[in-house]
Amino acid sequence: MRDVEMMTGNTAAAWAARLADVDYIPAYPITPQTEIIETLAKWINEGVMKAKLVQLESEHSMLTAAGTASLAGARVFTSTSSQGLLYGFEMLYNIAGWRAPMVLVNVSRAVAAPITLEPDHNDVLSARDSGFMQFHAERCQDVLDLVLMAYRVSEDRRVMLPSIVNMDGFYLSFTREPVGLLDKEEVAEFLPPYSHPQAFKARRHVVKGPAVIGGHLYTFFKHNIHESITRAAQVFDEAAEKFQSITGRKLEAVEGFLLDDAEYVLVITNSFTTTAKRAVVKLREKGVPAGLAKVVMLRPFPAKIIVEKLKNRKAVAVFDQNISQGFGGIIYSETAAALYHVKNRPETLLSVVGGLGGKFTTLEEFEYVFSLLANPDKVGAGKPLFLFRKDELRDVERAMKLAGVEGEM
């Protein structure tokens, strides 16, 4: 095991690609992801990393090249954010349909309009139906570990599907944290070399991406992807076991925090988990039986594990850093669907929407959410609760006044 180094989430992503000995990096700049490709470009040009990095003319092209390179037998890494992911969106479905394993790091950034730089998860969650697996990081260490995990799961012949590893822009991308690296031998032990069973090469005639005529053929291939991605949950567990045996670090699809006797549980993803955990500890000190479940693997959706972690609890809140307009939180609805047939499901399931556009969510706000769970009468059933502080409202009012907007808001 190598020493622990201080690095940003972006550098951790670059290190993961370097450790995985990726062959090909199609790239396109977008804040806050750009540092990843800059770091890799530097390493390749200095000769410390042997790979080809090519800057394409758009994310659409970047993802196209990523997919076809994977089908030609190259291990592919790429990264993007926000509108970049949306610009290339069509290709996500194609890459999954081509059964082209690769890893895409998404550095979350809220989607325009209004245009902004800070994170929420509408960008990455838009890809949830595409056939990409999704792994979400809380800390910079997770970024490194999950990228390596993602390669192993993606390239497993039982899976053969691409992965997205998500980290929050700014909160992780530009925040330095201690990250433990792996040495070459450890990586070699964990991650076998990539090969594609029907890669393009001379004298082998391969057709990729042909049309189908008839919904039955289409359905068959789509169901095939669904089966493979579902199977990936087990492949992830196997990989996590191996990873722990090599690094000592435990990775789980859903991580419980002070769950044993918890009655009030918060479901959450990504970097705000760290703040929420502090709220849980604080409440525990006051004698409140609070706990937390962090969802790391969003696709395949770990419904079974979530049910295990949530059944028999009194009340559960799902913190969504995203908004499905006209509905509410996305992970809330998935959690609710998972719990629907469970006998001892929690009586209260509260949807909380916060952190949009990177809006900071304080320790007190998480405590407030738990206080609602302890008083379920106060909880509006089925309606998302938007976290918005008074000081923030005052600032909005001031801005609107400056913008010349008159009257009631």
Partner: protein
């Protein structure tokens, strides 16, 4: 330059495209693909964007004795980039023997090349990607039922530019000059081709194969279904397009243009237009003299400029004034 192809006797006999594919009878694009493939041989991966020829591959059938990668409408050149780069880096890292290398060929229609994929082809050419690009240009979106594209010429009727009383000429804009757009990127090799001029085409592919980098071909692809002519006339239409000067055959090596077939006397464009339903409104119920003359004038202008810059013997344009007094 020494060439393998002097007459049609040298036409390669190997076939890479089996008969029986479900394209329209007489499709010019198919003829060009067949010849193009013969010239390149079998160790090829064709990277395709959405278009008529996408339907060559309908699972589980393929008429090709080569590999095929369907990408998306806008990004076939980027798909080619991914495969080319992957093969290169894998060979460099010793993970793939040199003998396993493939030629990478982008094959798209004009919708992809002139419109939705212009950005990705520009990027691939600018990066100097080592690939062939074959555009089969039928001057409209043929696969979706003949809507106007950036390649549609003035005067053509399409399903989105129908000739009406308000708009008698059909399409009132001009065909985009993709040759010049691509030439401005200074690729090593760029040419126009036509299915009627097979030896010219084979020689151009032969010349192109001597270069590393983008090798770009824009082929006129007479389309019986969209243009409205009998499928047996594809080659005749193609020849007329060249002889009337509507489809100049030329090449550009590192930007330097040379016309490879120079008609000494231009045939009137009318001979070409008259044979196609897409131009029928220019002749019936009333003859649209102004529109026809405009098309002729543009052709005349083009060739006068060519004879001036390339110093060809006189190319005799059609004298409109004379013609009218006839």
């Amino acid at each position: 330059m020494e060439t393998r192809f002097k007459t049609l006797r040298e036409f390669p006999l190997d076939e890479y495209l089996s008969p029986g594919a479900t394209m329209c009878a007489g499709c010019g694009g198919m003829i060009v693909l067949r010849i193009f493939h013969k010239a390149l041989g079998g160790n090829v991966v064709i990277v395709n964007a959405a278009g008529c020829l996408t339907l060559l591959q309908v699972y589980p059938y393929t008429p090709l004795k080569s590999s095929w990668m369907y990408t998306a409408f806008a990004s076939a050149p980027a798909g080619a980039q991914g495969i080319r780069d992957a093969l290169d880096i894998l060979m460099e890292k010793g993970k793939l023997p040199q003998g396993e290398d493939l030629k990478v060929v982008v094959l798209t229609g004009d919708g992809a090349a002139y419109d939705i994929g212009l950005q990705s082809s520009s990027g691939a050419i600018e990066r100097g990607l080592d690939f062939y690009y074959l555009v089969y240009d039928n001057e409209a979106y043929g696969n979706t039922g003949f809507q106007r594209s950036g390649a549609t010429p003035f005067g053509s009727s399409t399903t989105t530019t129908p000739p009406t009383n308000l708009n008698p000429a059909g399409y009132s804009g001009m065909k985009k000059d993709l040759f010049e757009i691509w030439r401005s990127h200074n690729p090593p090799y760029l040419a126009t081709i036509a299915p009627s001029h097979v030896v010219d085409m084979l020689r151009k592919i032969e010349t192109a194969s001597g270069f590393r980098g983008p090798k770009l071909f824009i082929s006129l692809s007479p389309c019986p279904t969209g243009w409205g002519f009998d499928p047996s006339e594809t080659i005749k239409l193609s020849r007329l397009a060249v002889e009337c000067g509507v489809w100049p055959l030329k090449e550009a090596v590192y930007g330097k243009v040379r016309h490879t077939v120079v008609p000494k006397v231009l045939k009137p464009v009318e001979e070409y237009l008259r044979r196609q339903n897409r131009y029928a409104h220019l002749f019936t119920p009333t003859r649209q003299e102004e529109a026809i003359n405009f098309i002729q004038e543009k052709v005349n202008e083009y060739w006068l400029k060519v004879s001036a810059t390339e110093g060809h013997e006189v190319i005799k344009p059609i004298n409109l004034a004379e013609k009218q007094t006839e």
